[in-house]
């Protein structure tokens, strides 16, 4: 429970101003895309050389201010109220906005329309991390083929029958009995897709899932 001191809890009510500005229109969508790395941010070295008084960290404040201002701008129908952040975009800016919007829609698994539609608006208003998105790391490392392990516990029933014949291992390997001593071994497919080997009336099953193992672990919630 949030710590409060006022009888009516007013000191822990989230003041209206403490609500994140909802992305409702293209201006805010553009600011969202800038803020999270979809529209190339201004190159601060160049900007600095041009305008030495600016500060890279002000960039985000500036965005934030634009978001606030954007709200005020959008509330005042009278165009004359629009501040120096005018909402009219050059052709190039518009193209940049649309391609950034498409990129966001693509990586978010949305239909790529290039239009600021409802689905896009909803995705932009989801809780997210404040670190900008970088180039997407889509070629992530691949998981190894799961062929070498679990030959003893193949879930793929085709492998169960050839447990011995495919040379996964021979009785000699596994139980190493000299040729005089051998166990009755036959393979039976467990219905629960575990491999099981029937040795002398004891069926040797596969690796135990994490249900088994040391069940005595105290407090191992995970």
């Amino acid at each position: 429970e949030k710590l409060f001191h006022s009888r009516d809890h007013s000191d822990v009510q989230t003041p209206q101003s403490h609500r994140a500005a909802v992305v409702t229109d293209e201006l805010k969508a553009e600011l969202f895309l800038s803020r999270y790395g979809f529209i190339k941010p201004v190159n601060w070295e160049e900007a600095q050389l041009e305008d030495p008084d600016s500060d890279p960290d002000d960039f985000l404040d500036d965005l934030q201010a634009r978001i606030q201002e954007g709200t005020s701008v959008l509330h005042s129908r009278d165009k004359s109220q629009i501040g120096h952040h005018d909402v009219f975009k050059s052709q190039a800016e518009n193209r940049a906005f649309i391609s950034a919007l498409k990129e966001f829609q693509r990586v978010s698994g949305l239909v790529v329309t290039g239009v600021f539609d409802e689905a896009t608006k909803e995705a932009m208003n989801k809780p997210r991390c404040g670190v900008p998105d970088q180039n997407m790391d889509l070629n992530a490392p691949v998981e190894p083929e799961n062929n070498q392990t679990d030959s003893f516990d193949k879930t793929d029933s085709n492998n169960t029958s050839d447990l011995f014949s495919s040379g996964n291992y021979s009785e000699d390997d596994l139980f190493g009995f000299n040729n005089t001593e051998s166990f009755l071994v036959n393979i039976s497919n467990d219905t629960n897709s575990n491999t099981s080997m029937n040795i002398n009336n004891t069926s040797v099953d596969g690796e135990m899932g994490n249900v088994g193992g040391n069940t005595n672990q105290s407090g191992a919630v995970r």
Binding site: V12, A21, P56, P127, V131, P141, F152, D205
Partner: protein, 425 residues
């Protein structure tokens, strides 16, 4: 001018360390200090709960990477590598203001600061409402370690918060991404073995199952072969899972399993224990009236102690004890050393490839049911003993020949240490 110069340096530094596609290695040391800063406590959770969540979040990263994390509440702040804090709006001297409830819930700076927007409704690990502080913390720590956002489904580094699954963990590719930056987890093991246990099915059939364990010092990991990783939440302190064994670890595990015998032994120093599988603890006294621990010289006459490691070979019903460059074959039938032993390890397990042999001081000798093969592990390497299958394919292979070595972390993945202070959360 000074401020401008600093800003220019920072932005240049940021660009230089800008997140390439797969991130960047943010730290060159492996033990990192973290702290929840006093002026940054959340007003929603107790301080103890906040610290518990962060301890768990850091531990989850150290379970899959060579990094270890320790909470440091004493050192001067500048010595702390990762500082975490909660705030709202303009917070903690940060230039990126929070936006209130909704949308941005946290951010991380490459220099090691992580901020959480306390206007969000953060909840503890066992709650199913609100925003899981654990999940957000794991994500932001990923950034501080150098990982960028990715949109790969299932990744903890997705930018948007997905409602808290019942219990999220790091998937294969998140693990490889962090290991791509900091390397795989390497290290020697005291012993590795498959623990066989018998269970009765509802139909009265006897089912024999196994689980694979890696032991190092006073810790152990259960290795899930089918998932190519250790069990979530491992390593665990030895005495939690193996009752009665020495808390600082063992030298060897031997499972004597034949028609007539089914006995599990653990060895440490000059002593050994017999393990009671049914009750999952060591025997104090067994059915023969022997009290444990017993002396190795008493139970296995002719075998020196301490030993490096040992394993039981069903092919000839001998226990092979390794010590230095020698190996002692002990017959469980006659309870004595086999004729002609001890021999050098090189004689009994000759190299298949000249020069590629562990020579001696083997860390672990392991028969794996998953791979149907015997492995000798030493340091971060292992050698597979050529079995009948390999010799059927290559008849010229010497009996018990050691195939060329490979790296342990290329066959068994993500067996990572955690900091001793994080062992028990």
């Amino acid at each position: 001018r000074r401020r401008r110069h600093l800003a220019f340096l920072v932005s240049g530094r940021r660009r230089k360390r800008d997140l390439a596609e797969s991130g960047f290695m943010a730290f060159s040391k492996t033990v990192l200090k973290w702290r929840l800063i006093g002026e940054g406590y959340s007003s929603q959770l107790s301080v103890e709960e906040q610290r518990y969540v962060f301890r768990l979040a850091f531990r989850m990263w150290s379970e899959v990477s060579p990094l270890e994390f320790v909470e440091d509440v004493w050192s001067p702040l500048e010595d702390v590598d990762i500082k975490l804090g909660f705030g709202t709006g303009r917070h903690l001297g940060c230039s990126q203001r929070f936006d209130g409830t909704g949308q941005e819930f946290a951010h991380a700076w490459f220099l090691g600061d992580i901020h959480f927007d306390d206007d969000e409704h953060f909840t503890g690990p066992n709650s199913h409402s609100g925003i899981s502080l654990l999940k957000v913390a794991v994500h932001e720590i990923g950034h501080v370690l150098g990982l960028p956002h990715t949109y790969r489904p299932g990744s903890i580094m997705q930018p948007s918060y997905l409602p808290h699954e019942s219990s999220f963990e790091m998937d294969w590719m998140d693990r490889k991404a962090i290991q791509h930056l900091y390397g795989a987890c390497k290290g020697r093991f005291d012993t590795v073995f498959d623990w066989i246990r018998k269970e009765k099915t509802p139909y009265g059939d006897l089912i024999v199952r196994f689980n694979t364990y890696f032991m190092r010092d006073g810790w152990y990991w259960l290795y899930e072969n089918r998932n190519n990783r250790t069990r979530y939440g491992d390593p665990v302190a030895l005495q939690i899972g193996w009752h009665g064994l020495p808390s600082d670890g063992v030298d060897a595990h031997v499972h004597v399993w034949s028609k007539k015998r089914d006995v599990v032994y653990f060895f440490k120093g000059t002593q050994f224990w017999k393990y009671d599988n049914e009750n999952d603890q060591v025997f104090i006294k067994d059915s023969d009236g022997h009290r444990y621990p017993r002396l190795v010289s008493e139970g296995f006459p002719g075998v020196p102690s301490p030993i490096d490691t040992a394993f039981y070979d069903r092919r000839d019903s001998h226990i092979y004890f390794f010590k230095g460059t020698q190996v002692f074959a002990f017959s469980v039938e006659t309870s004595s050393l086999a004729r002609g032993f001890p021999k050098t390890i090189r004689d009994v397990f000759p190299p298949v490839e000249r020069g590629d042999h562990p020579d001696g001081h083997i860390d672990a000798a392991y028969f794996s049911y998953t791979h149907s093969a015997i492995f000798l592990l030493k340091g971060t390497r292992f050698w597979q003993v050529a079995g009948s299958r390999q010799r059927w394919r290559r008849p010229l292979l010497p009996r018990n020949g050691l195939l060329p070595h490979r790296e342990v972390d290329q066959q068994w993945f993500d067996i990572c240490n955690v900091h001793p202070t994080a062992l028990k959360l």
